[in-house]
Symmetry: C3
Subunit: 208 residues, 3 copies
């Protein structure tokens, strides 16, 4: 397989993982099948869509790639009866690896698109974070929950932040943009997996 094939494979796995995270939250809130489909779409495509609205970029990913939209809708429609009857109850553990790979890939793509749009470095890095994280934020806001990304004390957005700055650093040092984005993506994913494996936590509140 070529590099492009691998990246497409990661993109597919991550989109499915994000959609499943939406279905899990939707099931917790006992949404109906419409809610499940809406939240799965929001979780999968919300981050990139917020980024593109902020960058004024069109067309959206899911307009150019209708097949992803179909895939998430069909996934929601097929799996929802099984969720409702309790036949499947996917654990968030099975999502960790595809989610971490997708987080790296999506945050690097956000950084790359923002740099292409002439954004300054800090804004480009934050656009990477938005791409990786805001699908989950929109998912949780729609489900009337405090967004996990803001209070679960896991260094998730920080991994995207670190990967983004690494990419910016590489570009500044003259590394080609494609290479810089790939190493930034790999660093973000690796940090996330390491944080998960070692149980790293952000500083927390004292018990009261």
């Amino acid at each position: 397989m070529t590099l492009a094939d691998w990246l497409t494979l990661i993109e597919i796995a991550a989109t499915v993982a994000f959609a499943v995270s939406g279905l899990i939250v939707a099931a917790r809130e006992r949404l109906d099948v419409v809610g499940a489909a809406v939240v799965a779409i929001a979780a999968s495509f919300g981050g990139g869509t917020v980024r593109d609205v902020l960058l004024g970029r069109r067309p959206f990913f899911w307009v150019e790639h209708q097949e992803y939209l179909w895939a998430v809708l069909i996934l929601a429609a097929i799996s929802w009866p099984l969720f409702v009857r309790g036949r499947i109850a996917p654990s968030e553990r099975v999502l960790v690896v595809p989610d971490a790979l997708g987080m790296g890939l999506f945050s690097a793509s956000g950084v790359g698109l923002a740099l292409d749009a002439g954004m300054p470095p800090l804004v480009a890095v934050l656009m990477g974070v938005v791409t990786a994280v805001f699908g989950g934020v929109v998912r949780d806001v729609l489900c009337n929950r405090l967004p996990a990304a803001l209070h679960d004390h896991q260094p998730y957005a920080l991994c995207a932040f670190a990967g983004g700055w690494f990419t910016i650093g590489c570009v500044t040092l003259g590394v080609t943009s494609t290479t810089a984005l790939l190493v930034g993506a790999a660093l973000a994913s690796a940090l996330r997996l390491l944080a998960w494996w070692r149980g790293w936590r952000l500083p927390g509140w004292p018990a009261t």
Copy 2:
């Protein structure tokens, strides 16, 4: 009256019905008059605004038709004291017919605008759903409630979805775009009224 007059009449009735749905939710959350006006505006114009932001379309409906914005603001300002004093407590029953007609009209207008913008079929249908449904979603998110559209197990968004596909099918078969949109709108509204009258429900969660 011409067809255009009828459509304008439905548009007015539906805008008022959506605004009143916003006032009802605002009253449940005991908002103040500012909150009531904001939520009424969000309920009336939120769906079309989200659609236009996604399609990159300008000007917004409420910029071109300031009179609707005035009408909703004045409605909120006049009716709010009566809400607060308990003089009026409109039931959602009186909203069903104007809301259903407006849902059909708004979803068809969303499908039509998306097709005009060159969107592929699935995206056009979803833009119709967004137009019809997201006013209520934004209303509920602002009021810190789980959006009714996502968990009330009523086939509301599904009626817009079905009407949208019917429009797409008619267009594919060579029906003129105006006719296709009108029959799609009528189908969505009729399905919604039928669903309400017969008490159709989406499959629900087992009691626990």
Copy 3:
């Protein structure tokens, strides 16, 4: 100091005040440091960003003025450990004056940009209100709270509304746009401070 210097000073003080309001809400919800930074950014820049998305205006304030984004991020990163350890617990009282000045300035800037974009008067006034108020709304929605602006019964958005109409009136009477915006800003700020000092409240719900 020139007028421009004073306006920049107010802008800085207000941005910090809005960011601190975000940190206070984030601390109440026991967010982590990522959540604190996201909510502080949303509180500071959310209103102007929503306005610019609605007006289709680019670049955003925080893209042109990266230094403000840096300032809010650094403020969040430095002050958060002190919040978490209970070393600082800023009262909302200290924010009243910078917040009121910023509210006037931001709402006038929203009115001015909307008029420049050719918006009709009511829309321009509402864009001023959005600029002044929606940072707080986005902050509260992200924190899963009923937005204070919608239910705290303080005449905050109404002060921005009044200042906006005063600006429109001055412009209609032939006053130059800069002067009209300055007096509108001053009126909005003065009304807000007066409302706070005198304890003015919007009509409330009967106790039940």
